[in-house]
Symmetry: C2
Subunit: 344 residues, 2 copies
């Protein structure tokens, strides 16, 4: 593999000159530039990334810490993030963690390894201590779908979205509106619970324990999955005649699991139980699920834009952005006519 010395020798110039044309630096005469360019091409020369990082004190790499992304939400977000990062000419290194403490390990490493120029933290909480460390070390970080006072944060309005969803159900006239949530370790799960409670309160209804079921799987996941929705709904249906006629489920994929449970018990959506989800994943449309749409792609893009600003030195304080969610009304609440043959 050719290095910068080979190029310099072949072009008959010093390595400094080669470096300058590489970095499009000014003040290079056209003839020399041409010679260097020719040598580069002839030798198939490409600068060595690690050497550049070391010399420049900059990696041209962004990191992204994200919970294990089985879910559609993470996949889509990651996709947007990757695209945008690459548009900026940067590489993306992916750290995925469970909700447990491994997160801290990654943060510590990221902070000290100088592996990346900036970090995106997705759907994950950050402690005050680590927030301070990032600030002190001036390592750019932006939170996505999460929030911290001192750090740039981009979030979707989980609380408000849950409020809207719950209110929708209440306004439809359902008496008891239940909620199935993800693991309360998860930030969005907690926020959605708040919105749910607030909507209840706003309409003079009491929060009842028996109508709230959070995912209690003890695994590493966030509880936003089909199984959790299925078992959560079963629990609700086991209330028998007391069972709720409407339920706000905190993610579409769980909602689909919940609908399966309803079906397996010989009941129907929305006749027996109305369901609202959250996310608006692709399948939501297919199954006719009323849900709260999140602008996932926009979030990812904005996050990278902002992170790159920070990396490039724009350090004005306190960038907070909140995206609104949008209620997408389909058939699962009975608000529109029921479709009969949506499936096999």
């Amino acid at each position: 593999m050719a290095n910068i010395y080979d190029v310099a020798k072949r072009a008959g110039v010093g390595i400094g000159t080669v470096s300058r044309v590489l970095n499009k630096s000014s003040h290079i005469s056209d003839p020399t530039r041409q010679k260097v360019l020719a040598a580069i091409k002839a030798l198939h020369y490409q600068p060595h990334t690690a050497a550049q990082s070391l010399a420049r004190r900059r990696t041209n790499t962004l990191g992204c810490v994200i919970p294990f992304f089985t879910g559609n939400f993470f996949a889509q977000l990651l996709c947007a993030v990757q695209k945008k990062t690459s548009e900026f000419g940067n590489d993306l290194v992916l750290y995925s963690v469970d909700l447990a403490n491994k997160k801290e390990t990654f943060l510590r490493r990221v902070l000290s390894e100088k592996r990346v120029d900036g970090l995106l933290l997705v759907s994950l909480e950050i402690t005050d201590e680590y927030a301070k460390r990032f600030l002190r070390q001036k390592l750019p970080i932006v939170l996505v779908d999460s929030f911290h006072d001192q750090l740039d944060s981009i979030k979707v309005d989980n609380d408000e979205g849950a409020h809207t969803a719950t209110t929708h159900l209440i306004k439809l006239g359902y008496d008891k509106v239940a909620m199935i949530d993800g693991q309360l370790k998860s930030v969005p799960a907690r926020l959605r619970l708040e919105g749910y409670k607030r909507a209840l309160a706003d309409h003079g209804r009491a929060f009842e324990e028996r109508y709230f079921v959070a995912c209690d799987f003890t695994d590493e996941a966030d509880g936003f999955n089909r199984e959790a929705g299925y078992s959560g709904m079963l629990q609700l249906l086991d209330l028998g005649s007391q069972r709720p006629r409407a339920v706000f489920v905190s993610s579409d994929i769980q909602a689909i699991g919940a609908m399966e449970a309803i079906r397996d018990r010989g009941l129907k959506v929305p006749d027996d139980v109305a369901v609202v989800g959250f996310d608006d994943i692709e399948l939501a449309q297919y199954v006719g699920l009323t849900t709260m749409r999140q602008p996932i792609l926009e979030m990812g893009e904005l996050a990278v834009d902002r992170l790159m600003e920070l990396v490039r030195g724009k350090r004005e304080k306190d960038f907070k952005h909140r995206f609104a969610t949008e209620l997408i009304i389909r058939e699962s609440c009975g608000a529109k006519r029921r479709l009969d043959h949506r499936l096999v």
Copy 2:
């Protein structure tokens, strides 16, 4: 940020010694090791990744080139790859590309930038030329869901899977069995087409153009998406009385789009049209779709295992692994009783 000199000074040793304890090298007396460790802890020292890479000529980083992963298949695969990579103590950098020529750009960069120790190439073809370059440069690479003579390849048996799916439909007694495929630029799309044709031939049936529709969207994607399935099915249904009664769709997500089209035309699955998909994504179960299951996680894990072997110097030739697909029979072909209330 403390560097190795600071640590050495504080511990009262040379930097070589610090390096040795860092790299768990042998022959360090316990007292010195303790001193060094103490200094490291006191200074919150972490080695500088770029400097290590430069000196070691090794990055401890794996790369993964993957088509834009909207689809569930890529998300799941990537998830497995990331987990496994991190188990090996390596970082993962993500390159995602469209099916067009940007791929070449990435390959070229990967080859010369020394950014990664090895590369996973997912669902993407590689030309002989690039294959040779990787070999010549001894840059480890393993193909996943793709194949090249000279390179380690792990694939699912797309051809055979498509054959099985098609045969299933034929054996069920359907006369005309159509196929809806992804973009023929995509490797799996082409292989599945082959399997389909072979199954037809094996049962003495002619391949008919009008019963085959490939995604002709001209965008960057692979055509494995709902819209493509929807419009493909519409095309088939437009054949009127000539329309096929059974169709093999080359991915589940397309199959779901196809089922939507069927529904929107007032027809039913499987009564009017039987459908088999490919992938067995999570939702397939929900919608009762008969499909071919791929062992996605296993593929991802095996790929990383193998790549790490290569990176660590095991260079025996020719590692090829093919995973079989499995026919998962549900309701969309009429092979089992029809469920009536799968949806809202």
